[in-house]
């Protein structure tokens, strides 16, 4: 009987120590060992994903010194709107000055700004703003249609599975991210050109009409996609009210 109490006490103290030890584990006790003067994007900006989903590629930023060389051990922190998740949210740059994080966006379709920041030696905060795009149902459907019907000509980049036809065309199609041109076109114009082909707007006859192939819903979805990925971003013209 007497022996049991010290045993219980030992067990308790071991458990207490274990508990303390776990709590003592630093979750993000990374301390900056290097400082840079600039923060630049290496890759991962302007990616497209579905709402709530992780971006297909990680976001990589680089901390540079005055000579544009990567700085190791600089602390980089990411932040974004509520619901945007980073894994990891902060950390130190590697030997080439880069910090990599995977990002998942929130549940609303649209553009998300994420901010990477680091601190210079003088304590000045350096920010880098990146933009990522989340597609909702309609834009996602448009994206699928784009991959099937449009991208072969409208995307100059080739993949092993899909060789781009862009270079073969005399009149170059507009990539859908080309906001400078496409933002000026109204939805009605886009519907016309997709439905009736290039000649409908006095454009290249090599753009065939899809009005008998795609449904109205599908054409709407395509336009939603085009608007979602345009760069600079497309702004809705807003409602116009008749004046007396």
């Amino acid at each position: 009987m007497i022996l049991r109490w010290p045993a219980v006490g030992m067990v308790l103290s071991v458990m207490l120590c274990a508990g303390c030890a776990r709590r003592a584990e630093p979750p993000s006790a990374s301390k900056a060992t290097g400082f840079g003067s600039a923060l630049v994007e290496s890759s991962g900006g302007k990616q497209i994903t579905a709402v709530g989903m992780a971006l297909p590629q990680p976001v990589v930023v680089q901390v540079n010194d005055d000579q544009s060389n990567g700085v190791q051990g600089a602390l980089v922190e990411f932040s974004g709107a509520a619901g945007v998740a980073f894994d990891p949210v902060s950390g130190l740059t590697d030997s080439s000055g880069q910090f990599t994080t995977s990002v998942s966006l929130d549940g609303m379709a649209g553009r998300y700004q994420i901010v990477a920041s680091t601190v210079s030696e003088a304590g000045k905060k350096i920010d880098l703003k990146l933009e990522e795009i989340a597609l909702g149902y309609q834009e996602g459907l448009g994206r699928q249609l784009n991959e099937k019907f449009c991208e072969r000509c409208h995307n100059p980049e080739s993949t092993p599975e899909r060789v781009s036809n862009y270079d073969n065309l005399e009149v170059k199609p507009h990539p859908f991210s080309e906001g400078d041109t496409l933002n000026k076109m109204s939805d009605a114009d886009l519907i016309a050109i997709i439905t009736h082909g290039g000649p409908a707007l006095n454009k290249s006859p090599l753009m065939p009409p899809y009005g008998y192939t795609l449904s109205k819903t599908e054409i709407q979805a395509l336009i939603a996609y085009i608007r979602a990925v345009s760069d600079p971003p497309y702004k809705t013209p807003g409602l116009v009210y008749a004046k007396n």
Binding site: A50, V51, G52, M53, A54, P56, S102, S104, D106, G107, M108, A109, G110, G136, Y137, Q138, G140, L141, Q144, K148, F149, R152, C153, P160, E161, V163, N165, N168, L169, G198, S204, P205, L206, M207, P208, P209, Y210, G211, Y212, T213, T217, Q220, A221, A224, T236, G238, L239, Y241
Partner: protein
């Protein structure tokens, strides 16, 4: 005493005489009456409605928004589905088209979906508690309600409740369903679907009954220890076996293996490791259409129908490989691999090329002593314990029934039946994702193996599993959108056997059965000319030069080619097309010229097709330089009129062509004949 006197005086002060008492009681009564309206007035949803009105006032379309606004508690009631959703009480702007640009909830317009809000309400897709009128009760898991709002990334699971088949716009759901089939989850977990069927695996785990003919015990050991070390694309999961266990299972599998007649071959010529000839035969045979190999840069090049071949030389025994290349159907009658008619020389070259694909590190540290009977017996027990026979056929071991839990309603499993890991959010999606990510973490001694899924794949699988829920089983029959049943079409007779032998259905689809790598051949007999088909089967030259995946050359005999051609030309005919209704030649020059004009100017066909190899550059559709020798005029005409009716899903746009234009274009295209034919004959 003093206290008594004080309380006494308080009592006296309030209820001392009847007038006072009446006054106090009245005030108390009034206050208690005011509680209910006050609770209503200060309720959360009123706060949101007031905020909404405030926001609306600041907008250009304020008048419209205010006119549409209805105060008080709103409700969507769908009796058939037992839906009572009051979400629109706070989410006021869901139907306002102009509020699509609002960045904060609960005021944003609902994104465009194929259904209306009034049709199904909210919780059918979003989960949560529809009848609740506070944020906490509606969105979170509470004591009274355990279904919280479904995170947006799993929202496609809700489409899958009704849509059992492929549905447009839900890539994640489709991907999850594909993964569950491809990684063979359903071999251990039965998944009963609402329509009474069960999910089928799309993988083809090999039989292990004759494994000793094919590979060595050392390779089996290395593979069991880590399948992905042999091939990064391997779908076999890692069972995290201890060295002893891997040793004993490999001992059992080898000891249990029985030889199969004809699955090893002794060639008259020694397998020549001529890398140039081997590589070109590998290329000509389009092995890469199905098999991937890692190139020097570490990228996988090739398809994923068959196993990756990067280190195949470590795996297969030379004599087995040669017999396999000669005729794979002897070892595995149901294989997706075609029976190429390779001669001895070709088998030697190709096997030499493949056997040279080794990784010296793979088996370097595997040294196994001869197996003892105890080890073999222990291996057999382990094979039964881990349920290896759920996937693989193993001689003498029965496929276990109900080896793992049935998953037909996993998407609505009550939270109180789940065991969560420390630190894990207590929600069903997190539980499912955690299980898929790292199954063994949940308890000691669990058997589910470790898969190497990416986060995106785990999300997709979780989405699909969440769609398998109670609601999907209890929907009104009118809402159940069953998947198209798998076609069991098999061609008949000698030609049918030949098509099976050549594994045509691994790539081509006919009458709904088969793969989608190559064109659908359901109406091939109406489409092509007999002579072209014969030549093509003899020597398939690609119609689309930019494609990586192409039709292989099977080295067929003339007899086999005739058999196949006869069958295809007779059986695979569209009832809508009379092959002989339009002639293959003899169109007036004027009409041909008109067709040329239409081709190049009105319809701009050259943007995707090539007629003149020097001038045209379109690489999207098939090359049409010899289309007049390939297709029938009747097919060309019908195709021009409406391509999608002939091959649903084709990307050739329907141009709504007039009969006259279609006839002229047909006349032009049918004159594009093969020029090499005559020369070839002369030679």
């Amino acid at each position: 005493m003093a206290g008594n006197g004080k309380s006494g005086s308080l009592w006296q002060r309030l209820f001392g005489d009847s007038v006072r008492a009446f006054g106090v009681v009245s005030v108390l009564f009034l206050i208690s009456l005011a509680i209910a309206p006050a609770k209503n007035h200060f309720s959360e949803w009123r706060h949101y409605q007031n905020q909404y009105l405030k926001m609306a006032r600041g907008r250009g379309e304020a008048i419209t928004l205010q006119r549409h606004f209805q105060g008080d508690i709103q409700q969507i009631w769908v009796p058939d589905l037992a839906v009572v959703d009051r979400c629109t009480t706070c989410h006021v702007g869901l139907k306002e088209a102009s509020l699509a640009d609002v960045g904060r909830q609960p005021f944003r317009k609902h994104p465009v979906i194929p259904h209306t809000l009034d049709q199904y309400g909210c919780v059918i897709c979003h989960r949560g508690q529809g009848a609740a009128t506070t944020v906490e009760e509606a969105h979170s898991s509470t004591l009274a309600w355990e279904q919280p709002i479904l995170p947006a990334k799993y929202i496609e699971s809700s489409c899958g409740q009704c849509h059992q088949g492929e549905v447009a716009g839900t890539p994640q759901l489709s991907e999850g369903r594909r993964l569950i089939g491809r990684y063979g989850c359903v071999h251990c977990h039965t998944v009963k679907l609402p329509d009474g069927t069960t999910l089928k695996g799309t993988d083809d785990p090999p039989s292990l009954s004759h494994i000793a003919d094919k590979t060595t015990r050392e390779w089996i050991y290395a593979w069991l220890k880590n399948p992905q070390a042999y091939a990064t694309t391997a779908t076999m999961p890692n069972f995290k076996l201890r060295d002893d266990d891997a040793r004993d299972i490999s001992a059992f599998l080898i000891a249990n293996s029985t030889p199969r007649d004809g699955d090893t071959l002794t060639l008259s010529q020694k397998a020549a490791a001529d890398p140039t000839a081997g590589a070109s035969l590998y290329g000509e045979s389009f092995c890469a259409s199905c098999h991937a190999v890692q190139n020097a840069a570490g990228n996988l090049v090739g398809g994923d129908v068959g196993p990756e071949l990067t280190r195949v030389g470590n795996k297969v025994k030379p004599k087995w490989l040669q017999a396999w290349l000669r005729n794979p159907r002897i070892y595995d009658p149901g294989t997706a691999m075609p029976h190429y008619r390779f001669n001895d020389q070709q088998v030697a070259t190709l096997s030499g090329f493949l056997l040279a694909k080794t990784d010296s590190d793979l088996l370097a540290n595997v040294h196994l002593d001869p197996a003892t009977p105890e080890q073999i017996a222990h291996g057999k027990r382990l094979v039964a314990d881990y349920g290896c026979a759920s996937c693989h056929e193993i001689g003498g071991i029965k496929k276990p029934e109900n080896f793992a839990p049935e998953l037909g309603r996993i998407g609505s499993k009550p939270i109180n039946q789940l065991i969560f890991l420390p630190g894990m959010p207590h929600t069903l999606p997190d539980y499912i994702a955690g299980k898929v990510r790292n199954p063994r973490a949940f308890a000691a001694g669990l058997k589910m193996p470790q898969y190497s899924f990416t986060t995106v794949q785990i999300d997709a699988i979780t989405t699909t599993l969440l769609s398998l829920n109670e609601r999907s089983h209890t929907l009104p029959p009118s809402l159940m959108m069953a998947a198209t049943p798998q076609s069991s079409y098999e061609p008949a007779g000698k030609a049918g056997q030949l098509m099976h032998d050549l594994a045509c259905f691994s790539c081509h689809r006919i009458n709904g059965h088969g793969g989608d790598m190559a064109p659908d051949l359901t109406w091939e007999g109406s489409s092509v000319q007999r002579k072209w088909l014969q030549d093509f089967l003899k020597n398939p030259n690609t119609l689309r030069p930019v494609l990586i995946r192409r039709m292989p050359k099977f080295n067929l005999s003339d007899g086999e080619i005739n058999e196949l051609t006869d069958y295809i030309m007779t059986v695979y005919q569209s009832p809508a097309i009379d092959r002989d209704s339009l002639p293959l030649a003899g169109y007036p020059q004027v009409q041909v010229e008109q067709g040329r004009q239409l081709f190049y100017s009105k319809y701009g066909c050259q943007s995707c097709h090539i007629i003149d190899t020097k001038a045209d550059k379109g690489y999207i559709g098939p090359t049409l330089t010899q289309v007049g020798s390939r297709l029938t005029a009747a097919w060309i005409y019908s195709w021009l009129k409406n391509p999608q009716t002939l091959r649903s899903g084709t990307i050739e746009p329907n141009r709504n062509m007039s009969d006259e234009d279609a006839r002229a274009l047909t006349a032009f295209l049918i004159t594009q004949k093969e020029s090499g034919t005559q020369e070839a004959k002369k030679r």
